[in-house]
């Protein structure tokens, strides 16, 4: 009996220690967004423990720098951010108060995935008179699937630096992700062409979609916001509606975190279809992976165009 108890205790101890060792070996990764978390899981697999801060249904510009995030950041091996000032209103305050030298700017654990990305909409003149602009270019670049592959390569390198022994595993997973993404991208592009997205004039609420538009051929002709971060005025809405009618705009795309009342009115006035388009993984419960994001976006656009086509 005693030997059986001793065996059970020994088993518990072994499991506890082996679990501890496995946990210690896993990279503790905190990402600012769920998109980065999804790609990090693709590249890192079981070797990383990934925690996103902002949810996919949140406006990533307006996330509260809650102290509860500091607890997660204080233990992080890597802090991964979109960069280009997307998170400028909340991430620096968190990193500077996390008491974690591994993730301070300038350290290996501070991973800005915008490196190596070809930026769109880099302003020639930087002034707040142009609204809440991003001086280093539009940061919504994860919405082009080809940038997803580049982000994965950045994460592969960051994970490999942190866990050199796992370099080959991260490289293999990143290559596999890239191959799957390229295959799916061809499908998505074909689907976008079939539904008539190429050259389709659309209007969006915020300037979230230039990379998505470039990937799938949409032409974003105007915005509900007169300037980035500035709520629309009645005059701007009048001008927008006139322009939408003039260009026969059939789609009005709104991010889920904006109040849809005004876009609904604009859509009614102009005859465009309003589509609430998820801009991130996690924006809807069924969007769990980076692949799900584009599947869902194209399905929603297809549905909206189909409705307008049938009406």
């Amino acid at each position: 009996m005693l030997s059986r108890i001793a065996l059970q205790i020994a088993l518990v101890v072994v499991i506890a220690f082996s679990h501890g060792a496995a946990t210690a070996a896993r990279l503790n990764v905190v990402t600012t967004t769920e998109d980065l978390a999804a790609i990090a899981r693709e590249v890192g697999g079981d070797l990383v423990e990934v925690t996103p801060l902002a949810r996919g249904y949140q406006d990533p510009h307006f996330v509260d720098a809650k102290p509860s995030y500091l607890v997660r950041l204080s233990k992080a091996d890597l802090f991964i951010l979109v960069g280009r000032e997307l998170e400028v209103a909340w991430a620096p305050a968190l990193v500077n108060n996390a008491r974690n030298a591994r993730i301070l700017p300038g350290s290996r654990g501070y991973v800005d995935v915008s490196k190596g990305i070809e930026m769109l909409e880099v302003p020639d003149v930087v002034t707040r008179a142009a609204g809440d602009i991003h001086p280093y270019g539009n940061p919504h670049f994860w919405l082009d699937p080809s940038n997803g592959a580049r982000i994965a390569e950045t994460l592969r390198d960051a994970f490999s630096d942190a866990r050199p022994a796992m370099r080959d595993t991260f490289a293999a997973r990143s290559a596999d992700f890239k191959a799957r993404l390229e295959a799916r991208q061809r499908e998505w592009e074909s689907r976008a062409g079939a539904m008539g997205l190429r050259g389709l004039p659309v209007v969006s609420y915020h300037r979230s979609w230039p990379y998505f538009a470039r990937a799938f051929g949409l032409e974003v002709i105007d915005f509900v916001e007169p300037k980035p971060g500035v709520p629309p005025t009645a005059k701007h809405i009048q001008e927008l509606e006139a322009r939408m009618k003039e260009r026969s705009v059939r789609l009005l795309m709104v991010e889920p975190y904006f109040d849809a009342k005004l876009p609904q009115k604009v859509a009614r006035e102009t005859g465009a279809a309003l589509v609430v388009l998820p801009p991130s993984v996690g924006a809807e419960p069924e969007i769990r992976t980076y692949f799900d994001l584009f599947d869902r976006q194209l399905a929603l656009l297809e549905e909206a165009i189909g409705k307008k086509g049938g009406s």
């Binding site: 720098a65 008491r99 300038g106 880099v122 609204g131 809440d132 280093y136 270019g137």
Partner: protein
Amino acid sequence: MRSNPIRAGRHHGVRRVIPRAAAAFLAALALAHGVPEAVAQQPTDAPAAPASGPVRGNPLNPDISVVGWIQYSTEHESEEAWAPAEVREMELGLQSAVDPYSRADIFIAFSSAEGADVEEAYLTFLALPNGFLARLGKHRSLVTRFNRVHPPETAFATRPLVSETFFGEEGLAVVGASLSRLIPNPWDIYVNLDLEVSDAPDESGVFLPADREDLLYGGRLNAFVDLSESVNLALGGALYTGPFGFDATAEEARRSWVSAADVTLRWKDPRRAIDRSFLWTTEALRASIDPEDAAAVGAEEDRPVGFFTHTEYQFARRWRLGGRYDWTEIPEGAEAHEAGALGYLTFTPSEFSLVSLQGDTRRDAAGEWDDRLFLKVTFNMGPHGAHPF
């Protein structure tokens, strides 16, 4: 008149320095810790250098920002001198990483009434060994949540009575050092302990300089918990002690003990974070001050208390409605007390400016009422700073 601790300190010749041993110790700790995985790819918080686009000035210059506060006021039944329109404050901020171990934050306040004043100037060691964070220099004391907020960035045109009465018209700013650490706990919730040592402030209702050795010591424990995705609760408590002038009879420094408690409840649906939010916060303070002549018959400690409670509802993207109620006893005021209330409607044209119409009524210790209206206008220039939380 607004207090000006630095100038007042020089005037009285009470210029003190941060204990040099403490500064040297903290610097040594940081150096011993080594360069944090010394890669130094990005010496500041700036993003990766863009492939193309604007590059202006020296990229190693600190971030420069200005917060402006212009205020218009009207009043009734008051003989107090009060400018109907004034530049309440223009706050110049200079912020940058200093090296891989630390960053510096300097805020200089300019006002039409007071001229220039160093509001804060401190060096922060961001990641000392064992999870410590240290701050050296002049900073707003951590004694309460409200006290940490720079005056232009509060929601109000006037400070809560308890803050004015206990800590002076600009709040409690001290020159010293603080040490901070997250406290591990089984629930993995945010619990933080701050310890602070500093000079005693020159102008405050509950602390007064005595002699060179009499410093202000304090600690603050605060916790934050997410009750749900949309609701969170912050709790804080602090205990500070410092000199309160001299007991002339005993020829020794009188001491004052100040305890503080605050609670803040927030609601903000992350799906509609830019359109709707609600905040309720309350802060209470209690002081215990040695009697002026402890040897006198019947001498008792003075124990003033005070509090304010504030609520704010954001009912549209650009609009907020708020109110505050104040009540406080006056230190050494023989149980006299003041009360007041303030209400406001704030319009924010953008993230970088606001216009707030505010009404304030106060009853002073003599029972006289004073009503005022304010138009508070603030604006931010420079790099995008952190959203207040």
